[in-house]
């Protein structure tokens, strides 16, 4: 964080005037704000008013005891760090105080250095606690947003289907236009497909996140896998007037991976390259072995991805909207899933793109090396 944080406030509660004064002096010199009180009741009011990060409290005081102060302070804010001051004779009570939530204790007499050390440690501890709490809040918020977003995504196609069916039901049959009826039914079918894709992708994502997508690790040659995916999209590519090309090296492109994961990964990249292309365009898949890695590139001849969007391309549900971008169906999860799979396999995925020329997605995965034969140890004399 670049902003200058306000100084932490420390509340000191001690019935001994000299102790309050010396603590205040030392802590003020550390750049901290100090508020000192002479008994537990005043001290608790002070805590409520000044919202300190840390409270130093003497265990043995007339009136409200130090132990009670600890629990009452934690009722106000459980994140406040409590440090107790105690005489040697009451070390048992100090242990008791630790049990009831004090962070640390200072046996009397103590040196300024000891006080400084304990206060710094306590404040560090508090910062850590607050940071992790913030992290949790953020994660919870993200999760809630994810759920809202997904339910909106699921509902949208359903609403469209419902609305079409509703109109078809109500419109005057005699004035009905059969061509329109047919078109609407086609669109309903298309939207159910959209819904199915979303659910499939969402499940895949859940599996990636739950670590259950990768079922096995076997030696896989990516050449036949990618080739058969390409073959299965020939029809779709022809409909979009996009040609499919592949350039393979002589050798096999073997990785140590899960067959299903590799299918999902390259299926995503290849369908994207077809969808985000132009009529008359081309999808070119190339592969090679280099530096112990299998590198596969999927290149399209589409409009390209504006630079400002590239950092978000692999985020979940990120989709480029507007600005002359072709409206295509998609769940916004494909690339996110691809990235998760590649990371799981210890590889990398990146994109290069040039406006008007096209985009190339490059996947690198650790190559699988056959264990070298004839290297048995101890076979020779």
């Amino acid at each position: 964080m670049s902003e200058v944080a306000a100084p932490d406030t420390i509340v000191v509660i001690d019935d001994d005037y000299a102790m309050r004064l010396s603590c205040s002096k030392i802590l003020s010199k550390m750049g901290l704000r100090v508020e000192a009180f002479e008994n537990g009741a005043r001290g608790l009011e002070g805590v409520a008013e000044h919202k300190p990060g840390l409270v130093v409290v003497d265990l043995k005081m007339p009136g409200i005891s130090g132990l009670e102060v600890i629990s009452r302070v934690h009722e106000i804010d459980p994140q406040i760090i409590m440090v107790v001051i105690t005489g040697y004779a009451t070390i048992d009570t100090a242990v008791e105080a630790m049990k009831s939530g004090a962070y640390d204790f200072l046996p009397k007499p103590f040196s300024p250095d000891e006080l400084r050390m304990i206060i710094n440690r306590g404040l560090d501890r508090r910062r850590l606690a607050l940071e992790s709490q913030r992290g949790e809040v953020e994660r919870a918020l993200l999760k809630r947003r994810f759920v809202t977003f997904v339910s909106h995504q699921l509902r949208t196609p359903l609403v469209a289907i419902h609305q079409y069916l509703d109109v078809l039901k109500h419109l005057d049959q005699t004035k009905d236009d059969p061509a329109r009826r047919q078109e609407w039914l086609d669109r309903c079918l298309k939207r159910t497909e959209e819904l199915q894709n979303l659910i499939t992708d969402w499940l895949t994502l859940a599996r990636v996140e739950g670590g259950t997508l990768v079922k096995e690790r076997v030696e896989i040659d990516l050449k036949p896998i990618v080739s058969s995916i390409l073959a299965s999209y020939e029809e779709m590519a022809a409909a979009e007037q996009v040609s499919l090309d592949v350039v393979w090296p002589e050798e096999a492109l073997c990785v140590w991976s899960d067959r299903n994961c590799m299918n999902v990964l390259f299926d995503n990249l290849i369908t994207n390259a077809i969808k985000y292309n132009r009529p008359g365009g081309k999808v070119t898949v190339t592969g090679c072995l280099s530096g112990g890695e299998v590198a596969i590139a999927v290149a399209d001849t589409g409009v390209g991805i504006p630079e400002k969007y590239r950092p978000f391309l692999f985020d979940e549900f990120f989709r480029i909207k507007g600005e002359g971008v072709k409206r295509t169906e998609g769940t916004g999860l494909g690339l996110h899933i691809s990235k998760r799979i590649v990371s799981e396999m210890g590889g990398s995925i990146e994109v290069e793109s040039q406006a008007g020329i096209g985009s190339t997605f490059r996947v690198r995965l650790p190559a699988w090396c056959a264990p070298a034969e004839d290297t048995e140890i101890g076979g020779w004399e």
Binding site: A160, Q163, Y164
Partner: protein
């Protein structure tokens, strides 16, 4: 109802098409916009008698921004706006009271919307205005 002009603002083309067709069958003239900005532009240009507005479009609250923008325009200050959104699926359809600031008198419908009821509410609104 005949000849009244309705503007639909929604990013789902299928939804727009279905609702538009239903309203047109009842003699209404329908204008279509597919995002908040387009909606505001078209509203200023065509001066519709009533606006149907989606909320979650490109931005999570795009529809609300569009409504605020429309309310800032003197000519659109009083045009009834019916919000149709899946934001409020768990609520019955409701009307914002007069004290509702820039949403005063506007109605909220959940998605999918009951088209027969929607048409009835539109009719009532026009009768009240007449």
């Amino acid at each position: 109802m005949e000849g009244k002009r309705i503007l639909i603002v929604d990013d789902d083309t299928d939804f727009v098409e279905a609702v538009a067709c239903f309203l047109e069958a009842d003699g209404l003239t329908v204008f279509k916009a597919y995002n908040g900005e387009e909606g505001v532009k078209l509203a200023k240009l065509e001066r519709p008698d009533l606006i149907l507005m989606d909320i979650m479009m490109n931005e999570r609250t795009e529809g609300f921004f569009a409504i605020q923008e429309m309310r800032r325009d003197a000519g659109l200050k009083a045009v009834p706006i019916f919000v149709i959104s899946s934001l409020c699926t768990h609520l019955p359809d409701f009307e914002i009271p007069q004290s509702g600031g820039w949403l005063a008198h506007d109605m909220f419908f959940s998605k999918p919307v009951d088209l027969v009821q929607l048409l009835e509410k539109i009719r009532q609104r026009f009768e009240k205005a007449a």
